[in-house]
């Protein structure tokens, strides 16, 4: 009996600990006088109109999409090509190379490499370039993407490819028409994972995109805090919600479709 009540209390406390901070995201966007803190809202949709009228809010969401599409496309396409080649070619030291890449990506984090990356982009005159920032983000994601994609491609039976070869298909055709369809769950995983990572990345765009016209939602949302000395509490809650929805939606989609799995520390 005592054990049962300790269990119930523990679960209730844990649930409150995790849920209470999130309730703000459900109440403040719809409150006529939103503040930092939780209260039952005085319902209104005015905040949404004000947010849509904000000069940079919608533009920054478009910037986020541009940045994410560049980073995700580059990661997925180059990652798949590399994973396919590494899966099918027997070269000495291949596994060592894969582990080395994975090691690199966990050691050279955005934080540890912010100085050289900033200096490099600064000297190349690529500060404020969305495409360059997208490439930098892709470079950090590629090792993990290759590692996971190779796992998926390894599981495609070689006999499929051999029969396609017999009928005269080129390696590119084999990749496009035989391997890709079979490895689709893996590619979808990487696609979603890369998009979510790039969408949430704050540090690199914050360092490399200094012009508000180029900044993605992550950076704009942060600068709303310091705008004119005090936080813009009308726009922040609505914009936080708008910015968070795609991430949550993508996760729900993936976990419904492919089941929530994770590979060596990668959220997918």
């Amino acid at each position: 009996m005592l054990r049962r009540s300790v269990y119930v209390v523990f679960m209730a406390v844990v649930l409150a600990f995790f849920a209470v901070p999130m309730l703000w995201l459900a109440s403040a966007p719809f409150d006529s006088d939103p503040g930092l803190g939780l209260r039952w809202p005085d319902w209104t949709l005015d905040n949404w109109r004000i947010t849509f009228d904000h000069p940079y809010a919608l533009g920054s969401l478009v910037n986020s999409i541009v940045l994410c599409v560049v980073a995700t496309a580059v990661t997925t396409v180059l990652g798949t090509l590399a994973a396919y080649a590494l899966s099918r070619v027997r070269i000495p030291g291949r596994d060592a190379l894969l582990y080395l890449l994975l090691l690199l990506s966990s050691v050279v984090t955005g934080t540890a490499a912010m100085v050289p990356i900033f200096v490099m982009m600064f000297q190349l005159g690529l500060i404020n370039s969305q495409y360059a920032t997208g490439l930098v983000i892709a470079g950090g994601m590629l090792p993990a993407a290759i590692f996971i994609l190779k796992d998926f491609i390894d599981s495609v039976p070689r006999s499929y490819e051999e029969s396609a070869r017999v009928f005269g298909a080129s390696p590119t055709q084999v990749l496009l028409h035989v391997v890709l369809p079979v490895a689709r769950p893996g590619i979808a995983t990487i696609l979603v994972w890369a998009f979510v990572q790039a969408w949430g990345n704050f540090l690199l765009p914050f360092l490399l995109l200094r012009d508000v016209e180029q900044q993605p939602a992550a950076v704009l949302l942060r600068t709303l805090k310091d705008e004119g000395g005090s936080a813009n509490l009308t726009v922040i809650p609505v914009f936080s919600l708008l910015y968070a929805i795609p991430v949550v939606a993508l996760y729900l989609f993936v976990s419904k479709r492919y089941g929530f799995r994770f590979h060596g520390g990668i959220k997918a």
Partner: protein, 281 residues
């Protein structure tokens, strides 16, 4: 073969440009007096190891190192690890709806973007009308100002527990049910069961999990979004310290030297992780 090289090289080129080169270049920048503005920005001088010597004398660097250690031990090694295991252990036998509900919220706190999460916790901890003060009923405590490190530790436990929970859930599935059954029949308490039956099976997982979450926590930039290192450097962990030195003060050479030290620590932790991984497989 030539085609294989063609397939691999674009990816390797990007990795080389944005991971390998920066890591190596950090070493070189760290040996100079390179700055963002002024004469050293045009013609940086080669200083040798003096940036590293200066770091040893820099009380703020020591402070950042200490706070990072406190942050990693408090929120990752203890917070995420223990809460993650407790949840994985207790949710095994929970009703499906409860399990789904708890797991849903824990996962949500993990997947929300860090800028949003920072606002959520600012709203919890704010002095005027913050959720925690309203719940306590009497408070006007400025939590983030008075107890910045405690706030960061609680925050990061909330933020990262999902990973440990999932990892331990799958590890617990591999513990033979017959052994748990035996423990129950001989009347072992929950704690005894965990210590003597479960722990020997998941020891490897505990170690790899601890290494990974420590690595991520030490490199986490989210403290910048919550406290920006303040007040008065009281929550300035290493990532925030590097940012403040590099971008705010423009001391690129010095901050590169500090980054290099962080890279070395990361390398050691990651090598340990890979070693353990290979030993197990």
């Amino acid at each position: 073969m030539a085609r294989a090289v063609g397939f691999v090289s674009p990816a390797l080129l990007l990795i080389g440009l944005f991971l390998v080169f920066p890591a190596l270049w950090t070493i070189y920048i760290g040996l100079t007096d390179y700055t963002l503005t002024g004469t050293s920005s045009i013609a940086p001088r080669f200083l040798g190891l003096s940036n590293f010597m200066n770091a040893l004398d820099d009380a703020l660097f020591g402070n950042a190192l200490w706070l990072t250690l406190v942050f990693v031990i408090g929120s990752a090694v203890l917070g995420q690890n223990l809460l993650g295991f407790a949840l994985a252990w207790l949710l095994r036998s929970a009703r499906p709806w409860l399990r789904r509900l708890v797991e849903g919220f824990v996962l949500l706190s993990w997947i929300l973007p860090s800028v949003v999460v920072a606002y959520l916790w600012t709203a919890v901890l704010d002095r005027d009308g913050g959720t925690l003060n309203s719940l306590l009923g009497n408070g006007s405590t400025a939590w983030l100002v008075e107890y910045p490190m405690a706030c960061l530790i609680v925050f990061n436990t909330w933020r990262g527990t999902a990973f440990s929970m999932m990892l331990y859930s799958s590890a617990l599935a591999a513990v033979p049910p017959s052994q748990l059954e035996t423990a129950r029949t001989v009347g072992a308490s929950g704690w005894q069961t965990v210590r003597d039956v479960v722990f020997p099976h998941i020891r490897g997982h505990v170690l790899t999990n601890t290494l990974l979450i420590s690595l991520w926590t030490a490199n986490d930039f989210t403290p910048f979004l919550l406290t920006a290192g303040g007040p008065n450097h009281e929550s300035e962990t290493l990532p925030v310290f590097i940012y403040q030195k590099a971008i705010a003060s423009g001391e690129l050479g010095y901050s590169a030297a500090i980054s290099f030290l962080l890279l070395i620590v990361n390398l050691v932790v990651a090598l340990l992780y890979l070693l353990l991984l290979r030993k197990r497989s």
